[in-house]
């Protein structure tokens, strides 16, 4: 198995499925010594969702679960549990308690490394081992249909005139929506009144009802209201336009939304990675198993359909590349949070 790293994906996939067949055929005891290095789950696996039921992170874990079951990618069953307390920190604390257990897989976002910066939590980044980042959720600046502004620039100017009374709705405090709002303030020099709600769904309804002036919801959170013509996208915080050809409302579709740079506001890019973690003190072989499994999940039509339905970007990072990304993102945000006075020293 030493040549594994050099093997192309297709070969390792074949090997994995052959292994499953062997084990399934009752030849487990004979086959095991030969595959000593390759680890696989021996008992039911728990997927821990760092969010309550219903939201994007919950769907992320459940979609992976459904694909594993449907395509028979694993022999042991998967149970999904929600541990959304403390904005997801409950799941990470649980992950810390499960150190060394490769049967516990935690599903989160960038909150894994951002939460310890802004609030006292019972875990550190070293308590979890990053396995993969599988997707990136996009952020779009939205306003309601009756609002006078047609472009992001108009909106920013209107906000400047209202001197801080402009209401920006978002999900949770000091989480992605709030961070993005702060970044827009930094880039444009205006101030918003940030109103935190419990979930992106609530924020979508508040904007559709005209109770807040704008929000920075993910595509999946606002598409229902956009389709009904109650909200309007102004710009997407990505360096490239979205690629989905679908026209959503009145002949305007995803690919017609200007980028933030085109719209003349900042930040140029803001995306939220959807990440998968193992507890610390798990072995490389165990992490390898999950990386390969998730790589196969990623190639199924169901996964692609899910990304498309929420207009999410593909962001596949693993191993050293992912660790480096996390390190850089954490450092940048630490600087910003210090500036906002959000930074908390863990005691």
């Amino acid at each position: 198995m030493t040549h594994r790293t050099a093997a192309p994906d297709a070969v390792s996939r074949f090997r994995a499925s052959r292994r499953l067949l062997l084990l399934g055929g009752g030849a487990a005891l004979l086959a095991r010594p030969a595959l000593a290095q390759a680890w696989q789950p021996a008992r039911p696996v728990e997927f821990i969702v760092a969010a309550g039921p219903g939201g994007g992170t919950d769907q992320f874990a459940r979609i992976v679960q459904s694909i594993i079951q449907k395509h028979n990618l694993m022999r042991t069953p998967v149970i999904v549990t929600n541990k959304g307390g403390g904005a997801g920190t409950e799941a990470f604390v649980y992950g810390r308690g499960a150190a060394g257990d490769p049967h516990k897989v935690v599903f989160g976002t960038n909150n894994v490394w951002l939460m310890p910066l802004v609030t006292r939590v019972g875990y550190g980044l070293s308590d979890l081992r990053p396995v993969a980042s599988m997707a990136a959720d996009e952020f779009i600046l939205w306003t309601h249909t009756d609002a006078p502004f047609r472009t992001a620039k108009d909106l920013v100017e209107a906000a400047r005139e209202r001197q801080g009374a402009f209401r920006m709705g978002g999900s949770q405090a000091r989480d992605t929506d709030h961070i993005l709002t702060k970044l827009i303030e930094r880039a444009t020099g205006v101030t918003f009144t940030y109103v935190p709600f419990r979930s992106g769904g609530e924020v979508a309804v508040q904007l559709a009802g005209g109770h807040v002036d704008a929000n920075t919801n993910n595509p999946a959170e606002n598409i229902g209201q956009w389709r009904a013509g109650r909200v309007r996208p102004l710009c997407v915080f990505n360096t490239q336009r979205l690629t989905l050809p679908e026209k959503v409302h009145n002949g305007v579709g995803w690919s017609d939304i200007p980028t933030a740079t085109e719209a003349g506001i900042g930040p140029a890019e803001f995306r939220m990675p959807r990440t998968v973690w193992l507890p610390a003190r798990t072995t490389d072989a165990q992490a390898q198993f999950w990386t390969q499994l998730l790589a196969r999940v990623r190639e199924t039509p169901e996964w692609k359909a899910w990304l498309e339905s929420g207009s999410q970007g593909d962001l596949w990072q693993t191993g050293a590349e992912l660790a480096e990304f996390i390190r850089r993102d954490e450092a940048t945000n630490r600087e910003h949070f210090r500036e906002y006075g959000w930074l908390v020293e863990q005691g």
């Binding site: 999904v80 109103v195 598409i223 389709r227």
Partner: protein, 503 residues
Amino acid sequence: MEGFAALLHGFEVALTFHHLALMVAGVLIGILVGVLPGLGAPNGVALLMPLTFFMPPVSAIILLSSMYWGALLGGSTTSILFNIPGEPSSVATTFDGHPMAKQGKAAEALSLAFLASGFGALCGVITVTVVADDIANFALRFSPAEYFAVYLLAFCAFIGMGGTNPLKTAVSLLVGLSLATIGMDTVSGEMRLTFGQDQLVRGISFLVAVIGLFGIGELLATADETEKVEGIRARVRLAAVLSTLAQMPRYTVALVRSAAIGIWMGLTPGGPTAASFMSYGVARRFSRRRDNFGRGEPEGVVSPETSDHAAGVSALLPMLALGVPGSATAAVMLGGLMIWGLQPGPTLFQDRPDFVWGLIASMYVANLVAVVLVLATVPIFASVMRVPFGLLAPLIMTICLTGAWMVSGSGFDVLLALGFGVLGYLMKKLDYPIAPLVLAMVLGDKAEDAFRQSMLMSRGDLTIFWSNWLVASITTLALLLLAWPLLAGLLRGGATALRRPAE
């Protein structure tokens, strides 16, 4: 009549053998899930979710929603028999349901609860059928100020009444509000009252508190009354169900009023728990037999149960139209919706009429199935009360502790439930009302969030609660209900004062 044609089409979808079988299966699993406290409908639905990945969306939602109806009914069973609410929304049922069971009227109490539930559900689903298209527009009017007004209304309807010592009520309420603040604060993102404990980060689960306060607390209190060791001689015949059915017209006023409250709270969406508390509070305030409330008054069972189900049923529509769940169970189903490839939102009704109307039609059928099935279980469950207390108590204790464990699989929760059990016992002995504490735990953090969001939006101006007719009328109604005992006294006093000179 377009809606009627759509509904007929929905029945075509729902009334296949396959779907009827799913409904029966869902209801039966739901009853089981509801009877086990702590497991609860949200967890039950989440456990069943993987099964639905391979089903068409209509079948999946029929299975899950049927299970929800079953769980709502099952939750009432343990409320009445053991004083353990299986669901947050059946807490109010314990207030009079359990006293009735202790008086040997368990079969009547259960039948009353289930029939009232059936009535509530029917009213809810009829409303849903009639106003399906306008729902989304109405719910959009609710900003944080309106939400706060609705919660205030629930608080005022339940709390502003005489009877117990108002100071003790206030103490209980404030303890509940403090408990509700534990954990992460939505508005500031800070941890509150966690004392650096990891277990407190997710807050104190309402279910754990209720299992302790009601289930274990009641057990301790009963054990204290030493003479009551033998079982209660309950009459258990199926005839009790029928005679209760014949008595239902007696409660027409309570039924209609509670259904109206439930539907309003379901659509707005205040949720089933708030609805049942509010309905109980209003019934106690305006009933002719108000002094009998809390001592086994049938109206005190009928009112919360009707509202609970009317709200549970009508809350499904805002969820589909807006994508905002009205209850924890609805949130799980909403997640399922997206996994099945459906996008909740105002256009779902046009895009997928077969799904929406199939669901609505299934709500008629599944609720009927659920009520019939659960009525059939009445003799079995009611005879549990004949078991001597000495045998029953360890069993109830086991159910309570495993229930506390099941909420999130944490040993800390079991200790917490025991702690709440002692608190519940002490409160009973010292004559502190437990209900305000529970209500504050359920609605406290939501009300607080809504209030602070409103204050952010109005920049600290309280007139936001009178800024349009909707919020102004709800707020004013709430304050009127709060002051009702005082106002009633004044009116009576005024009337006698007027009459006196004429004499």
